[in-house]
Subunit: 181 residues, 2 copies
DNA sequence: CCGATTTTGGATTGTTTACTCCATTTTTAT
DNA sequence: ATAAAAATGGAGTAAACAATCCAAAATCGG
């Protein structure tokens, strides 16, 4: 489903890939919709877990920059194919499957919270100015990341992702303690 | 296709909506893929035309802000449904239809160029500092817009779009002539 | 060890889908 | 006016699809 989209992946495709029969799949998942919800849960965990380590140790601008660079490097290795696993599902399912939309919104919320916590810890350490708003910065950063990933996927070139993350990073850095005012 | 996605829209759905018979549709479009390419061309024109006016008169930060606000207002009116017509197609088709991907990339490129031209004119007018890079700023701004639209679509709330565009706008404004250095 | 429950294989069903076909109507060119 | 070309209606086809069904196998509880 990551490779070909949800609509582009038949239940039979899943059966073959998983080497199980139809009755097995339908024994564990009532219908395709349910399987898709499981994919959302799985991909959300995968993305959050992959980010967790770098986001937990967000204590400096260098660490934030390292996180950005890691994402860029990951997309480069993937030859810019596939976009964000959560973002792609979100775009395909938001208008079609209300339940999926809610789950994906929750996934993004967790991701956002994770970034926000990192920015807050930078603020507590005195790296980030007190007047900075970690909530909005985290949300803006996540949006930049998503948009950057989409444009990078379409263009098959990491430049848009770089531009988006550079912009977000530099903006956040403009709130470095002591730089403003 | 904007409402239900490309895969979620059958050729028969299109026939009914257009009140034409199968033979008519297939007379003008060899196959569904060709119809989809026409949709891409149509939506690209629609988006660019809708933006054109505001982007052409990009001569000040107020005008840039007005453009941002117009986009936010548009999504609010749409109840945050549907995301970006180009972005949604891009996400659904990029990995599936190589030809569509190229057309969508070209659509984004035109959009980017349009923004870039606006920023350049601001630079020529002396609003934007000479050391600002309109190319990267335009790309970053477009990425922020796309990501903001996606998150706003998923959350059914304009806040992510606001945060994304605020971030991009404030960053660009930090290049206001005379403010830096 | 044995009866009940769960799990599995695989054929099957009914529907939806993209696309075709051909006869008929409409338009165009002269 | 008329013949050729283009456009249209609508039934039809074959494949793909999600989902069902039932019998067989495996697992579990006492």
């Amino acid at each position: 489903m990551f490779d070909r989209g949800v609509a582009g992946t038949s239940v039979e495709d899943v059966q073959k890939a998983a080497k199980v029969s139809a009755s097995q799949l339908y024994h564990y998942f009532k219908e395709k919709r349910e399987l898709v919800l499981a994919v959302i849960a799985y991909q959300t965990e995968a993305v959050l877990q992959a980010q967790q380590q770098l986001l937990e140790e967000l204590d400096s601008f260098e660490a934030l920059r390292a996180w950005c660079d890691a994402i860029i490097e990951l997309q480069r290795m993937r030859q810019c194919k596939g976009g964000c696993p959560i973002g792609s599902l979100a775009s395909e399912l938001s208008e079609q499957e209300p339940e999926a939309r809610v789950e994906l919104a929750e996934g993004f919320a967790r991701w956002e919270r994770s970034i926000r916590t990192g920015l807050r810890s930078m603020q507590e350490r005195g790296e980030l100015a007190a007047e900075a708003d970690p909530d909005r910065l985290a949300l803006g950063l996540l949006a930049s990341l998503q948009g950057g990933l989409l444009l990078t996927q379409v263009r098959r070139d990491t430049e848009p992702l770089r531009a988006a993350l550079d912009m977000a990073f530099n903006y956040i850095r403009s709130f470095a303690a002591g730089v403003r005012d």
